[in-house]
């Protein structure tokens, strides 16, 4: 099980990447900051970066609206 934003429990999948997790969450907003267990993941690495079972994932949407 993966925890997203200290609240949402998402079942882990074999070979899960950051990109796949964002797809699962339908997080389509282009300007995100993703951190796994406190470490920020570079934008261009989302497609390959692995997410492990039990990871604490934060997906912060940098959006504040006007």
């Amino acid at each position: 099980m993966i925890t997203v934003n200290k609240r949402d429990q998402i079942p882990w999948e074999e070979g899960m990447t950051v990109a796949r997790l964002l797809e699962r969450m339908n997080y389509t907003y282009p300007h995100l900051i993703v951190a796994i267990n406190g470490a920020v993941v570079p934008h261009d690495a989302y497609a390959e970066w692995p997410v492990q079972d039990g990871d604490d994932v934060r997906v912060i949407h940098m959006i504040a609206g006007g």
Partner: protein, 713 residues
């Protein structure tokens, strides 16, 4: 220059002063009823306590009106001001105008924040603010002419009424050479503002690349209705060439350093972030639907399969690209896009090819998705006519969506709507209704009252169920809600209803921070956010800034800072700019103090006018949770899960009605707890009244202010 009939009813000669560190140090008073025109000094106290922009507006308005003043009384004013940083060119988003008046829909003060050139040009013409008071006998135009050094109240009987014609006509009348047009700015409304409480003010900007006029809107709360009720047809300023020195900033080098840094940041990051320069605010349409936050069918639902038909990429393809679409010089976030050469299919201007200023996200969602309309051309045509007729697209969209739900619920029928089949998705009916409001037909006038008064009307005249219409009527304090679904964000529920003027999202936009990012999980976190963000965001309107450059383009390094959701690098930019312009060195904490004075002053002003208390901060149930069975069932899994997690109930043993009742009770209780936490954080009583200690701390414990709160303490 076009020769037309101009009867000058009153005139006032003046010398344009040099601007000192962002201030002309005088405001202009114009009474269109008795012809009085005069200059009033700006005191050091005003600058220190109220800064400028909305702060000046509120201070001047407070002293102009009585406790009992209604929107249509002659002593009501429309006050417009830009702020000390308004009109600099060195930083994106530095030319906003702030408008206040007593609103026809809320009966308290409304405030609007608009782009366009008027505010800065008014300052360059010699005035930190303008007050418009009184009611004229016949339509008049107020002209502030810096070149002749004259302010006049004139009759111009040949002038057209609707903005897209009137703005061009006035520019032709007043420009002596072609280049003069660049420095003329108009404030106009339109026919619909004469028959509706939802009237808007259009603020022009001369677009040099298009060689044509464009318009931004001072929209929420009906200032256009007050304008036309005063028989003011237009307000015009004729200014002179200017540049980044015209404000006489204290430190041009510091201003340039910060400006250059930000211009580079926008150039580098906007193309790979929100693409504001290509698609503007409607980039949000598809995204909001993906997150279940896009209003659909009168805020019933948060998404729709057709939403991506009108998403950011779609609008990018409709907007003319590669033009510097800033609404003030120097703005490279440049989100004020337009569809050029759009041929109108309906109405009095059918067949004309026009520039459509928009749509903004709020318009695409308001008159579009919220009404079940997903057709780009329909949205563009409604947008254009709302603008030129002078009606607010958010309030119009919210009102039509409300009428559509009432029609589908059987409260209205064709007999009552002059034959209009107001069902969700019926764009033709919505457009036809708009033309009828402009023409002032009986049903047009009824619809034009807006949601708050419509509810009472439907209950009284058509026997509508009071509970139902109050639940689905998306208004608070009399103002219609703007276009975000707050049902699952307690913080945004407060962000909408714990506001001064009404549920407009300028004060707080916390949905993502709360619902998606889960960055403010406790009541205390939410209360802190509802203390900090409204105050931080209010500050922009004291200075003349637009808040979009603060948060819509951000260097990714921001993620590594403390408190990245506040975007500290940009906050520091604003500290530097304010200090560099005014010569008054401030800190980021000062920003909050400056705003807190104005914010609390506005709260007391609301109390003075009869609202501003806890009972007025209560939202309709549609803003908190599912009103109808259809809504509950559309998210059943989520709502059932919440019953288990929040209330320890077993949904499998409950009827649908029992489940809905449990949600309703819980959501209102939760909201009341939020109110308690927020009021406490703000230094207000449980009834939402600023305490004497708070007023003293802020230095706004003037006798007339204390007199208002004392009755409630």
């Amino acid at each position: 220059m076009k020769a037309v009939t101009r009867n000058v009813l009153a005139e006032f000669d003046y010398t344009v002063p040099t601007i000192e560190r962002g201030y002309t140090n005088q405001t202009l008073y114009v009474n269109v009823g008795n012809g009085e025109i005069k200059a009033k000094p700006v005191t050091e106290e005003m600058k220190l306590k109220f800064t400028g922009g909305k702060g000046f507006d509120l201070w001047l308005l407070w002293h102009a009106v009585k406790d009992t003043t209604r929107w249509h009384d002659p002593e009501n004013e429309i006050v417009i001001s830009t702020g000390p940083c308004g009109g600099i060119t060195q930083y994106p988003g530095s030319g906003k105008s702030l408008v206040t008046t007593i609103s026809p829909t809320t009966d308290i003060v409304t405030d609007c924040n608009t782009g366009g050139h008027f505010g800065p040009y008014l300052k360059f013409a010699g005035w930190d603010a303008i007050e418009l008071q009184g009611i004229a006998e016949r339509d008049v135009v107020v002209v502030v002419d810096a070149i002749r050094g004259k302010v006049t109240i004139e009759e111009m009987p040949e002038a057209p009424k609707d903005t897209h014609l009137l703005g061009a006509w006035l520019t032709e009348v007043l420009a002596e050479k072609p280049e003069d047009r660049y420095y003329i700015a108009t404030v106009t409304s339109g026919q619909a503002a004469e028959h509706s409480l939802l009237g808007v003010l259009n603020f022009s900007l001369f677009d040099r690349k298009r060689n044509d006029l464009r318009y931004k809107q001072a929209a929420r709360g009906g200032p256009g209705t007050v304008f036309r009720h005063k028989r003011i047809l237009a307000l015009v300023v004729r200014s002179r060439p200017f540049d980044g020195k015209t404000n006489n900033p204290a430190d041009l080098a510091r201003l340039a350093r910060v400006g250059a840094d930000m211009q580079r940041e926008v150039a580098k990051w906007d193309p790979v972030q929100n693409r504001m320069r290509n698609r503007g605010t409607p980039y949000l349409v598809g995204i909001m639907s993906d997150y279940d936050l896009l209003p659909v069918h009168n805020h019933k639902f948060g998404g729709h399969p057709k939403a991506h038909a009108i998403n950011g990429a779609y609008w990018e393809s409709r907007f003319t690209q590669d033009l510097p679409d800033g609404c003030w010089y120097g703005c490279t976030v440049a989100c004020a896009h337009a569809v050029d050469g759009f041929e109108l299919k309906t109405g009095p201007y059918k067949g004309q090819k026009v520039i459509v200023d928009g749509p903004e996200y709020e318009t695409a969602a308001g008159v579009g998705t919220n009404c079940g309309i997903f057709d780009g051309d329909a949205i563009l045509e409604i947008n254009f006519y709302c603008d030129t007729y002078g009606i607010d697209t958010i309030s119009y969209g919210a009102t039509v969506a409300f009428l559509m739900e009432c029609y589908e619920a059987g409260i209205l029928d064709k007999e009552k709507t002059e034959g209009l089949e107001l069902r969700f998705g019926n764009a033709e009916a919505s457009l036809e209704l708009l033309h009828r409001i402009a023409a002032g037909t009986p049903f047009g006038k009824i619809a034009g009252m807006g949601v708050h008064k419509l509810k009472a009307y439907l209950i009284e005249h058509y026997g509508a169920d009071a509970q139902f219409v109050h639940d689905i009527g998306m208004e608070n304090k009399g103002m219609e809600y703007s276009m975000y679904i707050a049902k699952e964000s307690l913080a945004q529920q407060g962000g909408y209803a714990l506001t001064n003027k009404g549920p407009q999202h300028d004060e707080a936009w916390l949905i993502f921070m709360d619902q998606v990012n889960n960055q403010i999980p406790t009541f205390e976190d939410k209360a802190e956010a509802l203390h900090y963000f409204p105050l931080f965001r209010t500050w922009f309107g004291l200075c003349g800034f637009c808040k979009l450059p603060w948060n819509d383009v951000v260097d990714p390094k921001n993620a590594l800072s403390d408190e990245p959701h506040k975007i500290p690098h940009h906050v520091q930019n604003y500290v530097d700019i304010f200090s560099a312009v005014t010569g008054r060195e401030i800190t980021k904490e000062d920003i909050i103090h400056m705003s807190e004075r104005v914010y609390n002053f506005q709260r007391v002003f609301n109390i003075r006018l009869g609202k501003g208390l806890r009972e007025h901060d209560m939202p309709p149930y549609r803003a908190l949770g599912p009103v109808t069975e259809e809504e509950y069932l559309s998210r059943q899994e989520r709502y059932d899960k919440q019953l288990r997690e929040w209330l320890g109930l077993d949904p499998s043993t409950m009827t649908l009605q029992e489940k809905m009742a449990a949600h309703r009770k819980y959501r209102y209780e939760r909201y009341e707890m939020l109110m308690d936490a927020v009021y406490e954080r703000r230094g207000w009583t449980r009834n939402g009244v600023p305490t004497l200690e708070k007023l003293q701390e802020l230095g706004i414990d003037y006798p007339e202010v204390v007199e208002v709160v004392k009755k409630h303490l």
